[in-house]
Amino acid sequence: MASSVSSQQDQVLVEAHSSARILTLNRPKQLNALSFQMISRLLELFFAYEEDPNVKLVILKGKGRAFCAGGDVAAVVRDTRAGANFFLKEYTLNYLMATYIKPQVSILNGIVMGGGAGASLHGRFRVATENSVFAMPETALGLFPDVGASYFLSRLPGFFGEYVGLTGSRLDGAEMLACGLATHFVPSAKLPMLEAALYEVDSSDLVIISSIIDQYCEQPSLKEQSVYNRLDVIDRCFSQKTVEEILSTLEREVVHQMDGWISATIQTLKKASPTSLKISLRSIREGRLQGVGPCLVREYRIVCHVMRGELSKDFFEGCRAILLDKDRNPKWEPSKLELIADSTVDCYFSKVNIEEWEDLKLPTRSKFNLPPYVIAKL
């Protein structure tokens, strides 16, 4: 299978230019999906750079046509403890990035989904391009938008976060910029110049870095049928209290508006795991009222329950149908929203009541002088 020399070092390439460190996710055949080794390596690097006065800026990008298609969950789906450990490390990395004292610039020139979003959207600067394709597709997989998505999705305008998280809808670079997932939009042709300028910056000053990116920036226009032009319908439907009510509101809307988009949204929701939908909705709603740390702690609890498979095996079924056998026809159990009681959903949000299953312990940040934009996320 894999070459025996494939070490974790190769999966993340490191370059240094003055006080900038350029990290490149290097698994292009797997669309840079994050393996356990990559996550460990990134953690190692980020921790080291924080204490290193010679490092002032971290740039993250992907090799090939993707930035990062997600966490390599298929690799861990068979082993519960390994899976939990994978998520533990991944969420720790997400937290570190979210509370990092130095600026991180992520160049999102391609697919940025799931774990890829977690590795980039928590940083201070997110540069989208005309090639960017963002999505949180977890509900189709029997999982739920994790990696701190309950934080960043819930901060999107209105109830766009619920829409994106429940439907796994794809957003392009212009939409990412419009809703705030991206901070800048730079046409891919200008990326080499942007990167060259960033290598010379020799500063952690946000204003300086921002103004450099601004020089290569463009203001893209939204496509006419962009989902971002339909925020009023999205807000009306996705603000509803329960998944059932979201669906019934969408179904009422589709009668009034002969609209392909609403029917497509309904179909997507109907194909997703009902358990995932309920968990995701509650996670995003709770996340809206919490800081990024508590969001990740909560997500870790949920993912442990998902990995243990005691309440539902949808995650394993989703991985089988979408990633392994690829028949795209998962058999969810429970198969209907009405069959899932609130008390069952409650279970996902409680701590796993078994000795070895500890809550996620986030690294302490109190020894640092955190910048204001980090403090605002706590």
Binding site: F159, S239, R282, R288, L289, A376, K377
Partner: protein, 608 residues
């Protein structure tokens, strides 16, 4: 050398720190270390489960509240503003009165669109009543205009239709009221009659020719309607009616009882105001305590960092007892809501007394708490965006509307007096209103009070019961003495107002304390119960600082000193739990204020 050139050279050397100025050993310029904001989340620990505590104090519909919080936070109509990187929602008070009214209306229209009011008037059963209370508690912290408009619309108008209307009225109006297709109001009190609403001067005359009621207010001292005609079928006639030939009919013969029946919907208003005032206190305390965990002032020794406000015993003494009081009020509020939801005709009197007592007590406490919190936030506390000062200003009216607090407390003492007389007549002892302790032997306060005794819930209950018991006896004796001299009962009651006041407070404190003890008893042993026990003791001991304990000799001067020292001790112990205790309120950041977070960044030049 040209002085200007020389000066420039010196300044340049300072800035560039160049070594070429051989003659000058001027120290290079460097900026002072600036004050930094440190988030309390990073340094304070949670010793117990915040979620569990929240569930305990909110009591019900936690997810519903969070959903409503979310609806308001995410909507432009609630005026979101980013300060210090966080979103806050709060009305824009710089708008004119007309614009603010317009915005309040827009907010109210947004809510039914999202299904917030679904079933509020058309659904039956206990769940919807609990849900309404929960929603109201949340809405009341946004803005007083919103809360009052909704209160009048749903509880006064809506309640009147529900309680006094028949099915015909329900069918005609309840659904439209619920989805806000009609905008409703309620007019009862007059310029010259507020507390004594029985004495209103507006007159209704039945015009049998047209089948209409003509409502008219002939006096300037009343100022209500000018010959307004209302069709007969709009008379809400389930309690009393007018026959086709103009006779007044009612199944309730006694005029006082009938009047009481008409006052019934007002009870829910009273309950709502009481319970929402507790939420407002929570907002004030969350802001003031979070601020006190990040703001420093004065160093104890030179070159040491300045001390955090909440590390000062005096600051702890100002805020933490109010925190205990607020927790006590949470449990009492849940008890009051339960009394109301599970009401029966037999329990009406109890509900009236308890709701009067709690409304007066909670709103009075709320004002004291908001005042203290405002002061604890210094000048920044006055800024409208910091909410506390504004909450206090807007909600001051709580002390006098839906029942003037003084009048309400007098009604409580009057009721206790009547209970006493009735119990004696019955010769079966006291039943109800928690007065059963009067049937037992009089509790004894030990002459020497130790820390252990002071923290014991039995001692605390004994002390509060002793005060209530003794004051009730004194009050009854005083009134009887007056009556023996030939005065009427009403006159005797008016003359005994001082004892009545002390008694009213004694009843309220004891009743509230009882709910705290009962809530604490439901918990399994653990850190949550321990912390709650500390709060319960602190609440009891600050009740024991009431002047009545020394005035009537329930505590000796030495005892009072011991109590005072114990209060200080508990405050310093609770200091460690301050952040956890206010986080347990579950009030989202958007409903607090910039001063509770990174107030340095919120006020920085780049932010403003």
């Amino acid at each position: 050398m040209d002085p200007a050139f020389q000066r420039t050279k010196i300044l340049t050397n300072h800035l560039l720190q160049s070594s070429l100025s051989s003659h000058a050993r001027t120290p290079s310029l460097s900026s002072n270390a600036c004050l930094n904001y440190s988030a309390p989340e990073l340094s304070e620990n949670y010793a117990f489960g915040i979620k569990e505590m929240r569930k305990l104090i909110d009591g019900h519909h936690v997810e519903e509240r969070d959903w409503l919080f979310g609806l308001m936070r995410q909507s432009k109509v609630f005026n979101p503003k980013v300060r210090g990187g966080r979103v806050f929602v709060s009305p824009d008070y710089n708008q004119s009165m007309e614009q603010q009214r317009e915005m309040t209306l827009k907010r109210i229209e947004y809510l039914p669109e999202r299904g917030v009011f679904k079933g509020w008037l058309t659904e039956k059963g206990e769940e919807v009543e609990w849900r309404k209370f929960a929603c109201f508690e949340v809405l009341s912290i946004f803005d007083h205009s919103l809360a009052t408009t909704l209160g009048v619309h749903f509880f006064l108008w809506g309640g009147a239709i529900q309680f006094f209307g028949t099915m015909h009225h329900h069918d005609k109006w309840l659904r439209d009221t619920e989805n806000y297709s009609i905008k409703c109001c309620f007019a009862m009190t007059e310029l010259g009659h507020g507390s004594n609403v029985h004495g209103v001067e507006t007159v209704t005359t039945y015009d049998s020719n047209t089948g209409e009621f003509v409502i008219n207010t002939p006096c300037e001292s009343a100022q209500k309607f000018d010959n307004v005609r209302v069709p007969k079928e709009n008379l809400l006639n389930s309690v009393a009616d007018v026959s086709p030939d103009g006779k007044y009919l009612s199944s309730i013969k006694d005029p006082d009882q009938r009047f009481a029946a008409f006052m019934a919907p007002l009870t829910v208003g009273r309950v709502n105001i009481a319970v929402s005032s507790v939420y407002q206190s929570k907002v004030g305390l969350a802001i003031a305590i979070r601020y006190a965990l990040t703001r420093r002032a004065f160093s104890l020794k030179p070159n040491e960092p300045e001390v955090l406000l909440l590390d000062y015993p005096s600051h702890q003494r100002r805020l933490l007892p109010f925190l205990a009081k607020t927790y006590a009020m949470c449990f009492a509020a849940n008890y009051l809501k339960m009394l109301y939801v599970k009401r029966t005709p037999q329990s009406n009197k109890t509900i009236h007394i308890v709701s009067s007592s709690f409304k007066a007590t909670f709103t009075c406490n709320n004002m004291q708490i908001l005042l203290e919190c405002r002061e604890a936030c210094g000048g920044q506390g006055l800024k409208t965006e910091n909410r506390v000062g504004h909450l206090k200003g807007e909600n001051d009216v709580q002390s006098t509307f839906e029942g003037d607090n003084n009048i309400l407390m007098q009604q409580v003492s009057k009721a206790l007096l009547d209970e006493y007389v009735a119990a004696q007549k019955r010769n079966k002892g006291f039943m109800g209103l928690g007065l059963e302790h009067m049937n037992k032997p009089c509790p004894i306060i030990p002459p020497q009070l130790t820390s252990t005794t002071l923290r014991c819930s039995q001692f605390q209950m004994d002390a509060l019961c002793l005060r209530e018991r003794d004051l009730l006896n004194l009050f009854v004796a005083d009134v009887s003495q007056c009556q023996a001299k030939g005065e009427s009962k009403e006159h005797a009651f008016i003359m005994s107002y001082q004892l009545a006041e002390d008694l009213g407070r004694a009843f309220s404190d004891r009743a509230i304390f009882q709910t705290f003890v009962e809530a604490e008893a439901t918990l399994a042993a653990g850190s949550l119960k321990d912390v709650l026990g500390m709060l319960r003791s602190l609440y009891a001991l600050i009740c024991l600082e009431d002047v009545a304990f020394l005035r009537y000799g329930y505590l000796s001067v030495d005892n009072a000193a011991t109590v005072r020292r114990e209060i200080e001790k508990i405050c310093s112990e609770l200091r460690l739990h301050a952040l956890a205790l206010v986080s347990s309120f579950g009030i989202p950041d958007a409903f607090l204020s910039p001063i509770a977070f990174n107030w340095i960044d919120a006020n920085s030049w780049s932010s403003v």
